[in-house]
């Protein structure tokens, strides 16, 4: 009998995927994907140099340059850190927040951006509650835009400072990075991955310098498609099994403000995913513990772990300052991006 051949689908040409609609300002940092590994490396090296620089000399780097911080969400760490980083380089900063500006009267993001530009802002640092806000602002103003967190999407400077923290602990003495710098290292990210911009930026950045990213959490907070965001990303539902494989343990806050009707049993969540001293000692006694903050003690992490010897949570905050100095210098002195 002749074998029946399966009917092969005719291969059809279809319209091409879209191309980037506009060239970004070379000083902008909207996504970690905007940076090459070399670019990441340069920022890390520069962060260390600026950190070590004489404050008097450092003060001249962006002397009197005007930087606007535009914040549509409350923030402690990110806002203060960006502001101090700008000031450390001598720049003038101004803060516009959605609650004390014409945004409350209905002014659009585009018009707010154009207003800041007309007032002389040379770069805008944007924290926005909606994913993609930074792209809209960049397209509207064509200024260097630094994404300080957009909705559930990205938070690139957080991923860079997390990388700096991880390097300090796991590759001490190393300054720059290459595609294999973190080969053999597993970084686990636990918690509300679905709503987390920190998770997205980290999972897109860390594999590019060689790390394996292990996402951990219940289905409601960690959908299967998360693993398809890029190479080097895997899902592990068992918290303790993940701990046993990891050299860096990143915990995330449950984002009550973004749950949008999602029912979550918090006691069950704690039972399965809370990082306790006991679990850490049993499965990852030498791992470095990270958390982007704000931490909710007793929820995703116990106070003992947050304050414990393995915790790098406050180091992360300090590293943020160095990274943001480097990012702001790049923003205003990148090729075509700043005064000559």
């Amino acid at each position: 009998m002749k074998p029946v051949l399966p009917t092969t689908r005719r291969l059809r040409s279809t319209p091409p995927a879209p191309v980037s609609p506009f060239p970004y300002h070379p000083g902008s940092l909207l996504s970690v994907l905007d940076l090459s590994v070399d670019g990441v490396s340069r920022l890390l090296v520069r962060a260390t140099e600026l950190d070590d620089e004489d404050p008097i000399l450092r003060d001249h780097i962006l002397a009197k340059r005007r930087i606007a911080l535009l914040f549509y969400e409350s923030s402690t760490r990110t806002r203060t850190s960006f502001e101090l980083a700008c000031k450390a380089l001598g720049a003038d900063t101004t803060l516009v927040s959605n609650l004390s500006s014409s945004i409350e009267k209905g002014e659009s993001l585009k018009d707010t951006g154009l207003t800041l530009r007309a007032l002389g802002a040379e770069a805008i640092i944007l924290r926005h509650s909606i994913s993609g806000g930074a792209w809209l602002l960049e397209e509207s103003t064509r200024l260097p835009v630094i994404n300080a967190g957009d909705g559930m999407h990205e938070h690139p400077t957080q991923a860079l400072l997390d990388l700096r923290t991880i390097l300090t602990h796991l590759r001490p003495g190393l300054e720059g990075v290459k595609p294999d710098t973190l080969a053999g290292v597993t970084v686990m990210i636990t918690g509300d991955i679905l709503h987390s911009r920190v998770a997205r930026s980290n999972m897109l950045l860390l594999p590019r310098v060689g790390a394996r990213v292990l996402l951990v959490g219940p289905k409601e907070l960690l959908p299967e498609q998360a693993a398809r965001s890029g190479p080097g990303i895997e899902i592990e539902r068992d918290f303790e099994a993940a701990l046993a494989q990891s050299q860096a343990v990143m915990m995330l806050r449950i984002q009550a403000e973004r749950l949008a009707g999602l029912q979550l049993d918090l006691d069950e969540y704690k039972a399965n995913y809370q990082l306790t001293g006991q679990r850490l000692a049993a499965h990852a006694p030498s791992a470095v513990v990270l958390h982007p903050g704000p931490i909710i003690r007793g929820m995703e992490i116990t106070a003992g772990v947050a304050d414990g010897v393995q915790s790098a949570i406050l180091e992360q905050v300090t590293n943020g300052l160095a990274i943001r100095m480097a990012v702001m210098e790049r923003a205003l002195t990148a090729e075509g991006g700043g005064r000559s």
Binding site: P15, A17, P18, S131, G132, G151
Partner: protein
Amino acid sequence: MTVLAICGGRLVDPAAGVDAAKDILLENGRVVEIAGPGKLKGKNGAGVLDATGLVVAPGLIDIHVHLREPGQAYKETIATGTAAAAAGGFTSVAAMPNTVPVNDSPEITRWMQAPERGAQVRVFPIAAATRGSKGETINDYAALKSAGAVAVTDDGRPILKDSMMRETLAAAARVGLTVIQHAEDTRMTQGASMNLGPVSFKLGLRGMPPEAESSMVERDIRLVAELRESHPHLHVAHTSTAAALAAVRQARRNGLRVTCEVAPHHFLLTEEHVGLYNTHAKMSPPLRSAADRDAMIEGILDGTVDAIATDHAPHAMHEKEVEFEMAPNGITGLETALGLSLRWLHGEWKMPLGRVLSLLSAQPAALLGLKGRGTLTVGSYADAVVFDPQTEWTYRATESKSKAKNTPFDGWPMLGKVRWTVSEGRVVYAAQKTLDV
């Protein structure tokens, strides 16, 4: 000019099974004679459109457009929307009722068709299925039909309650009206702005699962089956998922009167085209996965799809220049439907020209029972489009006749340039000013 002859062209009239060199004579808004080439030149003192080298086809029919009047004239008016229709080769458009106020009355239905609206082509209102499209009280379908409504729908606010949808299907069947459903279980799409999948995850946007569409289509088909005795006609608007299309295919095999349309963006684009938050790629239903898009192509080629409809949804520029989640749904489509359909369905995927044109004229006319439309036989309306099937051109949104420019197809190559559009014997669009008389 009441007498017009279109001479020297290739007449493609799929409903009549004609694809031949023919001249046609139009008089008092009707087709009065069809004859061999050269036979009708100068007859009855007719003005002549020289269609040498061009295709002459029944005027196109779009059964899903939003003309935004009454109430949102800043987005579009019946005059500008139908001007865009004429430029795209359309001579009939069916206008959705999500106006302000909602078109749920014979008064608004008549108002939309009044000569004062300045329509360039024929407007067929589709009335709201329930009062205010709130899904609570059913409208008077007999009165709406006699005022000119050709179908009923609650369009963007789909009828979720089973009992209400059953009542709608039964009441519409009694007066011979089609029920059009925008199939979306809105309980599954709260706060979502694109298709649910790896792309929505990556962009940090809440996603609409394909099941929000398919489950609603399946529910509606179940109701049509229950009401089989009264012969309801369910039409599924802008089908976008493989599962919904499969349900329609199966319903038809089961002998139910269920039809569907697909929009050009759903057979061409995928969720990848959202790119980096391009609001011109935001619509409802959203752009889906490549597998769903491929299923739309298959459905068109295998005959499951009954019509190509644009879901022309104009919005003002400032409404789209906002954060992706805040932008309104919808894109324009009247001027790009023919060029994209010819370029891809005919040019790339080798669908015969007559079949492509049928999806854009004869089949939608039959679907909504538009008598004398969608064909160019003697006695039918003098609705025709004359186009050059070979010309490749580039669409420029800035040149649009629509008030709105919200299209993802700006700068896209098109095939087949409309030379003239004739609505009930009047030239309503001419690519070039010269009219050989």
